[in-house]
C-alpha cells in the first residue's frame, strides 16, 4: 500500500497517524505542503528519519522546488509525477489528508 500525505507535519498530525498505521516496507509519498517535512535540519526530521527505518520515503520534486527546499533529509527520494504514477501502479493508494 502507498501512503500519500499532503499536510505539513509541523502543523498537522497526518504524517504521524500514517507512520503509526503503515505496514513495514509500505512506501510513503510526501506531496504538497507535506514536503516541508522532508527538509533537512528541521524539528520534524527525527519523525521522517524514524519513518525511513521502516519505509521508503518519497517527496514530489515539483513541490520541493516550489518551496525552495535545497537540502533534504538523507534517504528521502525526490520523484516526479510520472514516478508517482508508477508508485500507484505498484501499490494501492491511501491518502492521509
Amino acid at each position: 500500500m502507498l501512503h500519500i500525505v499532503n499536510k505539513s507535519p509541523y502543523m498537522k498530525s497526518s504524517l504521524e497517524s500514517c507512520i503509526r498505521v503503515a505496514q513495514k516496507n509500505d512506501p510513503i509519498l510526501l506531496i504538497e505542503d507535506a514536503v516541508l517535512g522532508a527538509a533537512a535540519g528541521g524539528g520534524v526530521e527525527s519523525l521522517v528519519q524514524g519513518a525511513l527505518k521502516n519505509h521508503p520515503v518519497y517527496a514530489l520534486g515539483a513541490d520541493i522546488s516550489a518551496r525552495g527546499l535545497s537540502s533534504l533529509t538523507p534517504g528521502v527520494k525526490v520523484i516526479d509525477y510520472a514516478d508517482f504514477v508508477d508508485l500507484v501502479e505498484q501499490h494501492k493508494p491511501m491518502t492521509w489528508l
Binding site: M1, S13, S14, S17, R20, V21, A22, Q23, D26, K92, P93, M94, T95, W96, L97
Partner: protein
C-alpha cells in the same frame, strides 16, 4: 465486487467530511461491494453518544450510525490509540464497534481494493 473501506479521520461538525463519510455508505450500499469503515484520529468523536447539533442549526447524524449495517457496512473499526488518546471508551459510542490497534488497522487497510478518506 470490490472491498471498499472508508477511513474517517476528521472531527464531526467542524467540516462536512464526517457527514459525507456516512452519506457515501448509504449510496454505496446499493451496489455489490464489501464495505467497511474505520474511525481514527478526531473522527472517533463522530461516534459519540449525546451529540446535539440543534444549537448550531446544522443537521446531526446520530440517527444514521445505527443503519450503516443495513446498508452493507458491516464492519465499523475504531483505532484504539485514537480513542484512548481522546479519553473515550467503547461505552461512549452510539453503536457497537470493533476496537483495533494500529497494526490491526494497517493490516485491514492492506486487504482493501479501494480506500476512500473522509
Amino acid at each position: 465486487m470490490a472491498k471498499i473501506m472508508f477511513v474517517n479521520r476528521n472531527a464531526p461538525h467542524g467540516t462536512i467530511y464526517a457527514w459525507e463519510g456516512l452519506e457515501v455508505v448509504l449510496i454505496f450500499g446499493a451496489y455489490e461491494n464489501e464495505l467497511s469503515a474505520v474511525y481514527m484520529d478526531d473522527a472517533v468523536f463522530s461516534l459519540k453518544k449525546g451529540q446535539d447539533t440543534s444549537a448550531l442549526g446544522i443537521k446531526g447524524f446520530l440517527q444514521t450510525l445505527p443503519v450503516l449495517e443495513d446498508y452493507g457496512c458491516e464492519k465499523i473499526y475504531v483505532d484504539k490509540e485514537s480513542m484512548e488518546k481522546r479519553g473515550l471508551k467503547t461505552d461512549d459510542f452510539a453503536i457497537p464497534v470493533e476496537v483495533m490497534d494500529s497494526a490491526g488497522i494497517g493490516k485491514i487497510m492492506e486487504e482493501q481494493d479501494v480506500i476512500l478518506p473522509f
